[in-house]
């Protein structure tokens, strides 16, 4: 029996506010003059700031609402705060980027907020169907956003491809949910956990349910072998959308995935961790090796984001081999640090313009250090961080993930992952090499230039501050990740 109370509504106020803001934007957009549309940006940012405050106040007060469909806890708050932050950066970046691309869609910001609300539902749902709703809300918004550059066939291809494969993966997810319902008689995570305690994957129904859920989430997380859509979609979508997908969508998917597998299927973790070990190795190996041969920076970063999902999976695999949950905490830390560096890198790619279009070839970065020393330095920091070299955030993330792997008795996995980190250093630093060690061949008007704007400066400053500050003093974030994970049952 479903009961609503106003207290429940108050607890999902952040979600409600985001949806209301999205609706206001969608309504106001047609009536506003183009010059006034900056107001929509301010409305979005203001809403995010309010939600940030609300969610921060919920960290200490866990609650289960809507008859157990939604949980409000520190774990959800961790992801939500990260998502607000990334969404804020996306909106600021888009503000500059859309102008450059001459895309004046007010509804763009509406879709960003709708996707965000879907992600928020994903990370706080305690029921598989609520989770599915959140996933669809996020995905549908992203399908539209990927195709916003209507004049560019690549963008349309990205949108279509993303839609087809996304729908396909949703099918897997739903099928997994229904099988799990068949095996346990519930879609609520606590009830599922109770039903499977003492059972293992010898039960074919449970086995297939777990596999199908893994496949469904595998598409969303973009882990090998479910990664095929990623490079094409990341390359074709407008770069601000790519950044949003690579960071926010991945974070939210990890958030939902970890909650389902820890809270619902935690009893089977010794079983499923073996499966994720295979996915993890395949992702590390293929992601890094395919990134080596890319000449398009967006594709390179797409494979890099696949590879980073592999590093995060190490923490998931480690969890299956140990009692405590530091493996999951390391995943949370890894993805939040990954957000800063990846978003920063995409922001620079977005604003490097070559005669009206984006300069996305590695060659377009030639001599950037001479023309835009600051942009080159920032890109250098992001690349070094992505390669995991100290003293940057990327190193701290890898350190914690590998620590949990060694704690779980898998030092060989850490060694393999680190060897692939060396390989990744090659392609990240190739960009550094091009920027710093090659002279620009000509300085004519067609040579790429950075378009700087105050909004972009804020984005880059936030990203680089995160990379540097958390690289040197990550303690608060580590503590927050540990606190968030302790909220998981």
């Amino acid at each position: 029996m479903m009961t609503f109370s106003s207290a429940d509504l108050f607890l999902i106020l952040p979600e409600l506010l985001i949806v209301i803001a999205a609706c206001i934007i969608l309504v106001l957009d047609p009536v506003l003059r183009t010059s006034d549309k900056d107001g929509l940006v301010w409305l979005s940012l203001g809403t995010l700031a309010v939600c940030m405050g609300l969610t921060a106040s919920q960290i200490q007060a866990p609650a289960t609402i809507f008859s157990g469909l939604v949980v409000i806890d520190a774990y959800g708050a961790f992801w939500k705060l990260l998502l607000y932050f990334v969404t804020g950066l996306t909106i600021l970046l888009s503000h500059s980027y859309l102008k450059e691309e001459r895309l004046y869609f007010g509804e763009y910001y509406g879709f960003v907020l709708l996707a965000l609300s879907g992600m928020m539902v994903m990370v706080s749902s305690a029921d598989l169907l609520t989770l599915y709703l959140g996933t669809e809300l996020m995905s549908l918004s992203l399908y539209v956003m990927a195709g916003l550059k209507r004049s560019d066939p690549r963008s349309l291809e990205a949108s279509a491809k993303y839609f087809v494969l996304g729908a396909f993966s949703s099918g897997f997810l739903l099928y997994g949910i229904s099988l799990l319902y068949g095996a346990t008689g519930s879609t609520r995570l606590p009830e599922i956990a109770a039903a499977i305690s003492g059972r293992n994957l010898d039960d074919p129904l449970l086995l297939f349910a777990t596999i199908l859920l893994t496949v469904g989430f595998g598409f969303k997380l973009a882990v090998v072998p479910f990664h095929m859509w990623t490079p094409d979609v990341y390359q074709g979508a407008p770069t601000s959308v790519t950044a949003f997908m690579a960071v926010a969508s991945k974070a939210a998917s990890f958030g939902a995935f970890l909650r389902v597998f820890m809270e619902g299927l935690g009893g089977l973790k010794a079983n499923w961790s073996a499966m994720f070990l295979l996915l993890c190795l395949a992702t590390l190996i293929l992601g890094n090796i395919l990134a080596l041969v890319q000449t398009n920076v967006k594709r390179m970063l797409a494979y890099s984001s696949i590879a980073h999902a592999g590093y995060a999976l190490i923490g998931v695999v480690a969890t299956g081999h140990m009692e405590n949950s530091s493996g999951i905490a390391s995943v949370l830390l890894y993805l939040s640090l990954y957000a800063f560096m990846t978003f920063g890198a995409f922001a620079i790619v977005a604003m490097l313009r070559k005669g009206g279009i984006e300069g996305v070839d590695i060659e377009d970065f030639t001599g950037l250090a001479k023309r835009h020393p600051v942009a080159a330095l920032l890109m250098l920091i992001f690349m070094v961080s992505l390669a995991g070299i100290p003293p940057t955030a990327g190193f701290i993330g890898k350190l914690y993930v590998f620590m949990s792997a060694v704690e779980a008795g898998l030092p060989w996995l850490a060694a393999v992952a680190l060897i692939f980190a060396v390989i990744s250093a090659y392609y990240y630093l190739r960009l550094v090499m091009v920027m710093y060690m090659r002279e620009p061949s000509d300085l004519s008007s067609t040579s790429p230039r950075m378009v700087m704007s105050p909004a972009l400066s804020i984005v880059l400053a936030c990203a680089v501050a995160g990379v540097v500050i958390f690289g040197i003093y990550p303690n608060p974030l580590v503590n927050f990740a540990m606190q968030a994970v302790s909220a998981l049952k």
Partner: protein, 528 residues
Amino acid sequence: MTGFPWLTLLIVLPLAGAMAVFAVKESSVRLTALAVAVADLLISLPLWWLFDAASGDMQFVESARWIPSLSINYRLGLDGISLPLVLMTTVLMPLCILISWHSIERRIQSFMAMLLIMESAMIGVFCALDFVLFYVFWEAMLIPMYLLIGIWGGPNRLYAAIKFLLYTLAGSVLLLVAILVLYFQGGHTFDILQLSQGTYSTSLQFWLFLAFFAAFAVKVPMFPFHTWLPDAHVEAPTAGSVILASVLLKMGTYGFLRFSLPMLPDASQLFTPFMVGLSIVAIIYGAYMALAQADLKKLIAYSSVSHMGFVTLGLFMFNIQGIEGAVMQMVNHGITTGGLFLCVGMIYERTHSRQIADNVGLTKPMPRYATFLVIFALSSLGLPGTNSFVGEFMILAGTFLWSKIATACALLGIILAAAYLLWMVQRVAFGVPDPHILPKLRDVNLREMITVVPLVVLIFVIGIFPNPILTRMHPSVEKVIARVFPPAAEHASGMPRMTPFTPSVERITSPTGPTFSQETQVASEGRP
């Protein structure tokens, strides 16, 4: 202990300087960088006298919580092994800045910033007492060095830079895994001193030794992991070559001495024949390769491989002469090879060629230059009275206790060193100069004098009176040896001894290594 954060100051000052060079006018960048490096040198000098030579413990210790949730701390300290290396670094940095005064024209601010960041990281490596902190400093210098080679290097710089980076990175990733394994096996701590006290099973030590070996052997570089070195040296700008040869290579041997020996004593003994074998191969192979080089920088690079072979040889003798000789040789090699690279840099600025064939007969046009070159070359080949003699002699004396054949093989390296260095000197200093380059050959000016004279002074001071350094390192080295051969467990069964002799404190201080061990004995008697 004064409680004053000397070491933090030493590390932070160059970092602050690296930012300051971007804030000042372009014309005063060089002066600012020099002032920062000199200030750092002046801060480091008092440590030499404040250091309590009678103690083998860490001194000037600083400790602060850094990432308590992962039990990582900010801990710094110096002992008799790291003190000379830190001082060597602070002495060399102003010289590196001086030698780059005119030779670097492009992006001078970034160049000086890179040098100063390197200085911070290098001092940090020698001071760190927390394993993660050590690793952060260890890796943090990769990117500045990569950029130094890649931006300001020679024609083949891109290849050399990425090769340097990938080699050293590949070596050090296994170090990280080993550090993490030690953390969980050694009682959930990254404290280097605490980890050095722990006991680990022989099989664990075996694997950890291999992981440490990968990191340190690449850095030293030991044969067969040395191939990045000639490339990096040849392409790097002069200051980069000096830092690379004088300080970066020492970090590898320092790693062996600070981590492999005390943390993994059983495995260190097990691997002794292997390490000695590789060292001797490096000594002879490096020397033969040096003999065949036509490029001055390549010649010195291969001579570095040979000389660093002596250091690793001395380290794995586990006796006072061997290890003290190795530390001496680390400092000496830093001074002498640094000097040689400075000399090559000077001649390159004039003739724009590093080929021996293009730089012959310099004595007439550049008498002062030829003098310095000869002094550095003689020091490098270990002439008695110069610094390298002290180190090499002690290492050979230590090796003699272990194996006469190994000593004989290593001696071959000294003979070959005399051959390639004297042959090089003969051609460069005493040949018949090419008349076309004569007008370019201005003799060494005042700035260049200032860059090499300190090193010449150190060569003779250490060569004639090495005792102050030896006294300071003696207690620390004894501590390391006591870890490898615990006095109490002398007769316990445990690991089968791989060595044909049983070193003990009596044996070590007995006058087998004639001059210097007697001196150290005197020094140890003088202790309160």
